[in-house]
Symmetry: C2
């Protein structure tokens, strides 16, 4: 048994242990002020520094070009599923969605409540085991309000490994489960969003990165809290933001920077995922991956044991050996190992070792 | 100088120190599981227990009658300003708002974007120094979708000290700045809401307490995250809730229970506020309270020094003597001492002593 469990939860998910230790050290007395950051004004200089620094760290890590805003929103990616069409699906246009799994499907469902939507690609025919190739992604510059993609499907374990360069239609990406896991050409996107609770920090804040010009067309009056212009105008301080969640994101971003940035994390994420994918591929069918190899996610590794009874036993034994969070999403079932940025290599090694040992004993 | 500053911030605001210490002890290892509560699934048994227990604690402390739901929402009271009319301002009806200050005004502004609103009472004529008397509160059972009041105006420092018993129109109350500060006859309200960051915990979660029957009339399709039925149906677990904020609220509610409950807190709050109000009243006009005595808030005490230059000096000296957060809201200015549940008696005593000393030296 490890000292701490191997944490494979899909989200909220593993945080860097040194980040939690720093939070612990500072929770009752933030930087020597004698108060917790949780109990001081969001307009205090102490909090404002965290707020602005966090935005700056996103800009730096993602090397955002000029003209992008970093906003902090409530409500998770799920609220973005509605806010995006409310703000950007202007009358006379149609929203173009790429359907790649459970999360894209939810985004589409909410967009349909707001306006006209079409699904220009559906992975239903391949049971959502594949991401589309770039040539499958079609836009219509005259009529598309935007193109919406989901960069990583957490439930299915599929991921885009490259992104189309579309200049005549704004591209919007839900990156909730793979943001900051690899370098990104942000200029390909007009709008990126991510709930924090996978790669960024605890649940409670959603990051929206958008290009200023994107929201200039919209004129309809929207509720203040559902209008991106409110967040831009007030620097995400129109009302009290989720201060502590943003602070935790701040600590995680600094940890990423200390770790060497996105290129280093990408390499590490590839190595971690390879440990497990190689184990699947070399198991002679004992373990079976869900995603097609070319679409495999480096964040969420979905697979099953060839025999359902053995799979139950797999969960039982994994549990007693200190692995937690391996149960797949209730809509897909089977096994899912989520190996986000903060997941240590050693935990992936331990899982691969356990898988091999389990196979040896039960094949 | 005190060991820790006297924290008079209006929100986010002082938390019980023992709650922060417990959070500190548990932040890297929640109840011996070896993981932080921040990094485990919102569907794990460990979190579900916190979630359900927090709802139960609200029901217990407020002695909620049968038929009320306790929901956890994102976006602060500001998002409720829009969600309430989106869900409850049915076509053909009008929303009745009581205008008592900055926060009621914001609620009205957002409701007007959604539907028909009328302001049946406005405190503008008394410069928002008074709350209406119960006879000033009029409803029209045939046409009012609901009556909306703000139980405590944080900026102005005014508070309702009793509530009307209206049975033929649903009464909705924004209790963001005084929830759980005193016993309440919850049956007078169809809907109570409160951002956490004053009396309940850190910013990041909003409590909504509503009577089930209130939302049965509504049939229009709403975005999932903006529809109260989503939160009821999924027990506020439709998407990932702000787990850690809810955990902190849980600890604060247990602290309230340990402290003796709402009657004990009410008595303590009265004593704390009296220390400061008595100092104003006995200053012979050196300090001048903003609110009319009958409407004075036990949570936010607003006042000024008779002379603006002296007031600047007051802030300077208060600051060097360890008082923080005394600056009034930017829309009103002057001095505001926020003395929520978690504010220790000793801090109020220290402020009263400082005020007397300051007056002695500068009168």
């Amino acid at each position: 048994m490890p000292k701490r469990p191997y944490n494979f939860y899909a989200g909220p998910a593993v945080l860097p242990h040194e980040v939690l230790e720093q939070a612990q050290a500072e929770i009752t007395d933030f930087k020597g002020i004698g108060l917790s950051l949780m109990e001081i004004s969001h307009r205090s200089p102490e909090y404002e520094e965290i707020h602005n620094e966090t935005q700056h760290l996103f800009k730096e890590l993602l090397q955002l070009p000029e003209g992008y805003h970093v906003l902090f929103l409530p409500g998770g990616a799920s609220l973005q599923f509605s806010m995006i069409p409310m703000n950007l699906l202007v009358p006379g246009k149609v929203a173009n969605y790429i359907l790649t799994g459970v999360w894209a499907d939810k985004a589409i469902e909410e967009a349909r409540k707001v306006g006209d939507v079409y699904v220009s690609y559906s992975g239903k025919t391949n049971n959502f085991t594949e991401m589309p190739s770039l040539k499958d992604i079609q836009v219509h510059a005259q009529t598309d309000a935007y193109l919406h993609i989901t960069s990583n499907e957490t439930v299915n374990g599929t991921q885009f490994h490259n992104f189309p360069a579309i200049r005549n239609v704004p591209v919007i990406a839900d990156m909730s489960s793979d943001i900051l896991s690899r370098p990104l050409d942000a200029s390909k996107f007009a709008f990126i969003y991510a709930g924090a609770q996978k790669n960024l920090g605890p649940a409670g804040v959603t990051i929206v990165i958008l290009r200023e010009e994107l929201i200039q067309h919209h004129t309809a009056p929207l509720p203040a809290m559902l209008d991106y212009r409110t967040y831009i105008k007030h620097n995400s301080l129109y009302n009290t933001p989720p201060v502590y969640s943003i602070y935790m994101v701040n600590l995680v971003l600094k940890w990423i920077k200390r770790s060497g940035g996105l290129s280093v994390l990408e390499k590490r994420n590839e190595e971690k995922a390879r440990l497990i994918y190689d184990t699947l591929d070399q198991s002679g069918g004992f373990y079976r991956g869900f995603a097609q190899p070319a679409s495999r996610s480096l964040m969420n590794i979905t697979f099953k044991v060839w025999n359902d009874e053995l799979e139950k036993l797999f969960f039982q034994e994994a549990n007693t050996q200190g692995f937690v969070g391996l149960e797949g999403h209730r809509s897909l079932g089977h096994i899912r190992a989520s190996v986000y940025n903060a997941m240590p290599y050693e935990a992936c090694q331990a899982l691969a070792d356990f898988m091999k040992d389990f196979q040896r004993r039960y094949r």
